[in-house]
Amino acid sequence: MNPVLLAAISVGIIGLICAVMLAVASKIIAVKEDETFLRLRECLPGANCGACGYAGCDGYAHALREGGVKPNLCVPGGDTAATKISQLLGVEFEDVVEQVAFVRCNGDCNNTSDKMEYHGIQSCKAAKLFFGGSGKCTYGCLGLGDCASVCPNDAICIKDGLARVNPRLCVGCGLCAKECPNGLIAVLPDTVKVIVRCRNTDKGGATRQECSVGCIGCKKCEKECPAGAITVNTNLAFVDYTKCTNCGHCQEVCPSGCIFIGNFSGAHKAK
């Protein structure tokens, strides 16, 4: 027989056997994917952030299919995802409390300065171990962007040595809050308007030397707040959001300007 023909035929036969084997196998032992799970999974944004308390979107979708889980746990998905899920499962829709991350520090390079030059590993966690970071204030933003690097939506940028959150991009997953070694980032409902942008618990004079916009614990806001929502504890003002009426008076009286009034509600829906 012609050797070329022989080679072609033998390879062809082996290929045919393999092909038939694969075709039969894929028909006989194919796995049926659960349809409900797939559709639930499609409703979720796929950020795998873990804000719902499950290991990624797959985990939450599994838990939803098993039942007994509220459909409004997905913060990044917001109301859109919750509506779709509740329709799919035939349960009552519950509003999602949209959340936004806030950086509770305003110490950029104009307001505070460095006590040393840091040339070590470019990570906030590493810098924090080295005399509390390069900045004068050891409570403030280290500015090396550990939060920015974990953000799944690129909502955080470092500008002038301070992390800044873009509330339009932030989905409120809270990954950055876990990452910050100084615990500066708070994830709060987007209805909140009054933020104390400082975490320095040093006494007033010491804080002043470190940063021009730090909370000096003067208690002016505590005295003046008409709703009695602010308490000063360990030289730092805290806002009780259950009492706060968002009147903005505290910002007017604050001598150092560390209280910030913003409006983030609906930032999620603007997307």
């Binding site: 290929g15 393999c18 194919a30």
Partner: protein, 196 residues
Amino acid sequence: MRSLIVIMMGAVLVNNYVLSQFLGICSFLGVSKKQDQATGMSLAVIFVMLLATAVTWPIQTFLLDPNKLGYLQTIVFILVIAALVQLVEIVMKRYTPALHTALGVYLPLITTNCAVLGVAIDNIDASYTFLESMVNSLGCGLGYFLAMVLFSGVRSRMEDAKPPKSFEGLPLTLIAAAIVSVSFFGFAGIIENLFG
């Protein structure tokens, strides 16, 4: 028994597939970024190498050689290995979902990996018996595992380093791979001195 140990040691250390023979470099550089990924990939490689040898050795000995079709070796091996890995993936997905989630991503990557084909062909070239072939494949797989895990450690250290801009990324990875490879040449001759 003695010859099996020699083959095993030789495959793991002296003729390490990645670091001495430069086979499977693509996956070696691609998947060695994280240690857990490197481990998963290596386990899949060990599995596929054993499987490929178990199938290709009989094909060569009982099908190709008697019919004087030895020159079809390469193409037949590629065909059979690729089909086999696909089949294993389908079976795995059905019967052992846990194993599929662990190895599943890497299996299709390996189907036409040159290291796997290299083992299959090397076994024939060295005219090993079936048992020797299997031991050699296991050794090569373990050698790949060793290289991957070692190199993923090196890479995780490099993440924290600040190289000059022009060396960032792949250039530095290649240089590091070369240095690790040179270190493995230290094993050359160890077998002759131990067992010779």
